[in-house]
Point group: C2
Chain length 256, copies 2
């Protein structure tokens, strides 16, 4: 299995603090040592850092934990291989372009009896069930909305219906973003926390580090963090229910 | 304008030496200070490092110059913006998936009267003529070969014909790779050098650094380096002729 982390904010924010805790799980506080990846949206642009080395001893992970890249939408993944060999080509997140925007996807879980769908325009490059599921999602969205992105409520409905269908094949927790919205779907293991004023001090679970957010934020900042396991031990993390799809925008969940 | 660098080898090789010289041009020995990007193929997998900061003072560039990522196909680009604002979304190289493989493209030049082509499946995310040209190439290849990649001679012919067509719009030097082959096309400014046994010492033009390749290679290694301007001052760089498309495989140009 793997671990997921996502961040959605109303102002560009760095993930140095959260990533410091999260990347300890890539071989240290947890054995997810088969590579990792982090995608940062900057507007519609996206940069992705991936490495097939364990996050705890990767120079790339060290860079991310210390270089403050400010982003409104981030998706991170540390991998413990279940399907597909340990190789860069199988390292999440995955990226494709749809409707003139980059889409990023990372998955936690394993899908059973999940065969490739032929004839699609998006084809997996690696051998994971995750990338295959992502390609099927984009194919189904493009087929349904060939001209461009539909209104959010429609998009949400289509993604929710597709997610429920794929989730019949097994464990399917994922995070997906196009740089505007961050979608998170849960079958069994995903939580989120909302940070907003008045900001307080948060303490990492995986490392004895704390940060006083009131010192590094403004009163209008709103930040949502999604993770497989809560990253801090003194904040109110909300567990997703099974089958729930949440879409975040500007640091808050939307209720559609 | 911008500067390009590409590497194609028969064994995974790092680009630390060449990149040390090349990235000096991103704000130091040349004024290409509007961002940079490097894509490394590892098998079919690809990782890309991009930054909209000048290469000379980017922590990401510092990582690439010191962390030996071994790859058989690398494409690097430092940008001096002519079309499209300075932003991550306009930073080369660009990546798309075609036929279940990642394709990477970086361009040097400016295209005039080059309008968007509607109805294509690949759409630019940013606002550069370069990304638009890349999307048109992939659309034309997919349209012509919907089922998968054709034999290399056919692929070469199609890419050459498309390149000549686009080059009518202006300066169009580019490097393109799918992880197996590295294509380089020149309208006016591109050179390559071939390194093979007996290996000797090379000296960078942009920094007083030299490396004795005989100490870091085996007798069977073959490496081709493509660059806008030669990177070393004591090797035999071969200038491309105008309108020439060269395809490299395993560190050598193929003559089709």
């Amino acid at each position: 299995m793997c671990q997921l982390m996502g961040m959605n904010c109303n102002v560009p924010t760095d993930i140095c603090f959260s990533f410091r805790g999260f990347h300890q799980r890539g071989g240290n506080t947890a054995d997810h040592a088969d590579g990792f990846g982090v995608a940062f949206f900057e507007g519609a642009g996206c940069r992705m850092f991936v490495d097939s080395r364990p996050a705890v001893d990767s120079p790339v992970a060290a860079l991310i934990a210390t270089y403050p890249i400010r982003s409104q939408n981030v998706i991170a993944h540390i991998r413990k291989a279940t399907r597909g060999e340990v190789a860069l080509v199988n390292t999440h997140p995955f990226m494709r372009e749809l409707w003139g925007r980059y889409w990023i996807f990372a998955h936690n879980g394993t899908l059973e009896n999940f065969g490739p769908q032929s004839g699609g325009q998006y084809r997996p490059v690696g051998t994971t069930d995750s990338e295959q599921a992502f390609c099927q999602l984009l194919d189904s969205l493009r087929l349904r909305y060939p001209d461009g992105q539909p209104p959010l409520t429609e998009l949400y409905g289509s993604i929710a219906a597709w997610s429920a269908k794929i989730a019949k094949h097994g464990k399917f927790n994922y995070i997906l973003s196009n740089g505007d919205y961050l979608f998170a779907y849960c079958t069994d293991n995903l939580s989120y926390v909302l940070r907003h004023a008045p900001f307080t001090t948060a303490h990492l679970k995986d490392q004895d580090i704390e940060v006083d957010f009131s010192q590094v934020t403004t009163p209008n900042d709103r930040i949502a963090i999604v993770a497989t396991e809560p990253l801090t031990d003194n904040e109110r993390w909300v567990p997703f229910s099974s089958g729930q799809l949440v879409v975040f925008q500007d640091g808050a969940p939307l209720f559609l």
